[in-house]
């Protein structure tokens, strides 16, 4: 396997983006950030891959116009996944492993506010017996939260602790759209929203975009003093059915963790759009109590659809670049109730 590192990362998030759902306007400055971080131009990029969803934009082929932001004369080696940025990065990592490219820039975008996200995501379900009831993501997450509460695996206090810590840490994150911790007691005193979830237990609807630059071996060393070397990159999926799955668990997250070497991980950025999901992920990944979780504030502070997972990888990589940590983990999830999961472990040594 070739050594590949994350060497660049840029993000933009807002509660409501008033521009086009193709988000070209957001992507242009993100690419500029990436070029500035690496000193590269678009001609140094060997492979491009994006992540987005037509349904978020409400149009077929919504990713096509985003290609404008690249500047595609001459034509480029480019692909697209209808998945989160983290999986676009996976495809690019594979491309570099084949030797076909040495550098890649992956990007993702999503204007969740263009539609009613809770309705749009009902289309992400089994179309014959689930979608016709239009179950929303909050309700489905609530079913999972309650399953754990009933089984005594966690309680609303544990959930509030996750939320409080996240909102407090988000105060240091200029990109977070929701910030401001208080105390567990104060959070618990807030009204129930979608029993058993309170509003702060659920990620905010967020628009945004993000980009990551990855490069192999020498190319990475050229542009980054402390590249975040990808030690492992694994992903798995579980069945969707909420009936046959044990909702208190996420086997695909456990598998992705088991396929990675998590020894010595100091910081874990976990993509948990609902507070109880962080508790499930910590358990499935076997994270020790001293692992620092979501210094960025995580998805509870900001959750731009289709880039939030990749942003976890970027935020984790930043910990390596700054010298704050030597071994980190970025996690991404997709589908209802932690159905599909990706784990990226990065380390500082070359």
């Amino acid at each position: 396997m070739r050594d590949v590192a994350v060497v660049g990362f840029a993000q933009r998030q807002m509660a409501q983006f008033d521009g086009s759902p193709t988000c070209v306007e957001l992507l242009v400055p993100l690419f500029a950030d990436c070029y500035e971080q690496t000193g590269w131009t678009r001609r140094d990029i060997g492979f491009w891959c994006s992540g987005s969803s037509d349904y978020l934009a409400g149009r077929s082929f919504s990713f096509v116009q985003a290609v404008d932001a690249i500047g595609v004369i001459p034509p480029v080696n480019e692909s697209h996944v209808e998945m989160d940025l983290a999986w676009a990065m996976y495809e690019a990592w594979i491309k570099i492993q084949t030797g076909e490219a040495d550098t890649a820039l992956v990007y993702a975008f999503g204007k969740s506010s263009a539609g009613v996200l809770r309705r749009t995501l009902a289309l992400q379900l089994e179309p014959y017996t689930m979608t016709p009831l239009w179950p929303d993501t909050v309700s489905l997450a609530g079913l999972q939260a309650r399953a754990g509460i009933d089984a005594g695996l966690w309680d609303e206090r544990a959930m509030a602790e996750v939320a409080n810590r996240s909102l407090t840490d988000a105060e240091k994150n200029e990109y977070a759209v929701r910030q401001g911790g208080s105390s567990v007691e104060e959070l618990l005193s807030r009204p129930m929203y979608a029993d058993p979830l309170r509003k702060h237990d659920c990620a905010p609807v967020t628009d945004g975009a993000a980009a990551l630059v990855i490069a192999a071996e020498g190319r990475a060393r050229e542009v980054c003093e402390r590249p975040a070397w990808i030690r492992s990159l694994s992903h798995f999926v579980d069945p969707m059915s909420l009936g046959t799955r044990d909702l208190k668990r996420s086997p695909s997250a456990q598998r992705a963790g088991a396929a990675s070497d998590l020894d010595g991980v100091e910081v874990a950025e976990l993509h948990a759009p609902f507070s109880h999901q962080e508790l499930i992920l910590c358990s499935e990944l076997g994270l020790a109590d001293d692992v620092r979780i979501n210094p960025s504030g995580g998805a509870l502070a900001s959750n731009p659809m289709f880039s939030a997972g990749g942003i976890r990888i970027g935020e984790a990589a930043r910990q390596i670049w700054s010298g704050s940590a030597d071994r980190v983990l970025g996690h991404a999830t997709s589908g209802p109730a932690l159905q599909q999961n990706l784990v990226c472990v990065m380390g500082s040594e070359g």
Binding site: R2, W48, S53, D54, Y55, G58, R59, S60, F61, F63, V64, Q65, V67, D68, V72, I73, P74, P75, V76, N77, E78, S79, H80, V81, E82, M83, W87, Y90, E91, I94, K95, Q97, T98, G99, E100, T120, L121, L123, Q124, L125, E126, P127, Y128, M130, T131, S234, H235, F236, V237, D238, P239, M240, S241, P251, S252, R255, S334, G335, Q339, Q340
Partner: protein, 388 residues
């Protein structure tokens, strides 16, 4: 680091029809997958990863359907990817699947591309009006027809070339038991007599709207060596360009030329028309055959393409048989069409194309394009392991 060798050891497809009302989406995929697995002599549990390809989700009205399909596709507990690169998706999906093996990450990958577009209406899904814009947009045909007109003008092509392609592909389809359109009466005359839909494209020069799926099993060298007839992957290329950059050549796009040049180089091919024994080229409107023949380097630009078509050399018994399967003109489940081209090319070099087999085919091209002629995915497969 060089790519590890990879080969197609199983190909499966559905019976493509206007409406597959006998199956659900899962059933449609499994029909193709089960055929591919049987062909490969593998069970679903032996597969390491699944890569799904599909065009816009609006066609079926399900967002990211690979998620609800995960269990039915045997992907539960495995890595699952979903590729979407517009019309070229079937091809790019096969390329992503090959990359997983060529990177040495997995040894047995199953890839499936599908579309069950009868659940809505393809023209509607492609033409949802965008506010503030002029609603002249009339589906894919309406988009490409002006560029076909440009080709005819540029190349001096006579008017019947499109009809030659349509008649040829539809007659070829009669030898493909899976093809959607199987009308024995299609001739050059009957095509020329059919209604003009988007002048200059006629009804019979237009692809159908089909429900269908295609699946491939791609394996690493040690696994493929156990197969009696693997189709070794000699080269894969993807290139993209913008929809409407200034002075963009919409007839012979730069991305297409670049992709072809890179592909021939990877596969060690210096004279495509002599070295390729069969080509499955993405031709959804008949005039794209001469256009792509030129762009791919099989014929000289600005006229070589239509002359090659007119000479009969792209017929099954010609110098460069094109679309012996009947092509996109005969079956077009949009998400799967690219993979069908790639899969049919593999069948040719494996000697497994049945009645539409080109005798002794040893190297074949699979080609797909999408968007406004801006996304290209192509591969070369061969009966021998690549020498590079």
């Amino acid at each position: 680091m060089a790519k590890q060798p990879a080969a197609v050891i199983g190909v499966g497809q559905t019976h493509h029809r206007a409406k597959r009302e006998d199956v659900s989406m899962a059933g449609l995929c499994r029909e193709a997958m089960d055929r591919a697995l049987e062909d490969a002599g593998l069970g679903l549990d032996e597969i390491d990863a699944i890569v799904v390809g599909k065009a816009p989700d609006l066609f079926e009205g399900v967002m990211m359907p690979e998620l609800f399909l995960a269990e039915a596709l045997g992907a539960a507990g495995k890595p699952l990817l979903r590729v979407h690169t517009a019309g070229s998706v079937g091809g790019s999906t096969a390329i992503v699947a090959s990359s997983l093996v060529q990177a040495g990450v997995h040894r047995k990958v199953l890839t499936v591309a599908f579309e069950k577009q009868s659940e809505s209406n393809a023209m509607w899904a492609l033409s949802v009006p965008i506010p503030f814009n002029m609603p002249v947009h009339a589906g894919a045909g309406g988009y490409f027809a002006p560029h076909v007109r440009s080709y005819i003008r540029r190349s001096g092509a006579p008017n019947h070339i499109g009809a030659i392609v349509a008649a040829k592909d539809r007659q070829n389809a009669l030898k493909n038991p899976y093809a959607h359109l199987r009308n024995p009466d299609t001739t050059v005359e009957s095509v020329l007599a059919s209604q003009m839909l988007w002048d200059p494209i006629r009804y019979d020069e237009t692809c159908p709207s089909s429900d269908g799926a295609c699946a491939l099993v791609i394996a690493a060298e040690d696994v493929a060596s156990g197969s009696p007839n693997p189709a070794w992957i000699h080269g894969t290329v993807m290139r993209s360009e913008a929809t409407s950059a200034a002075e963009r050549d919409q007839v012979n796009p730069q991305a297409s030329r670049d992709a072809a040049a890179a592909l021939w180089k990877q596969a060690g091919i210096t004279n495509p028309i002599d070295e390729i024994d069969a080509a499955e080229i993405y031709v959804p409107f008949s005039w794209f055959e001469p256009m792509w023949l030129e762009s791919l380097g099989f014929a000289e630009p600005n006229g070589g393409g239509w002359r090659l078509t007119e000479s009969g050399e792209t017929a099954m018994d010609g110098r460069l048989p094109v679309n012996c399967s009947g092509g996109v003109l005969s079956s077009n489940p949009i998400g799967a069409s690219g993979m069908l081209r790639f899969g049919e090319a593999a069948l040719q070099v494996r000697g497994a194309a049945g009645e539409h087999q080109v005798d002794g085919a040893r190297r074949a091209l699979g080609h797909a394009y999408g968007g406004g002629s801006q996304f290209f995915a192509m591969w070369v497969v061969g009966s021998e392991k690549p020498s590079n």
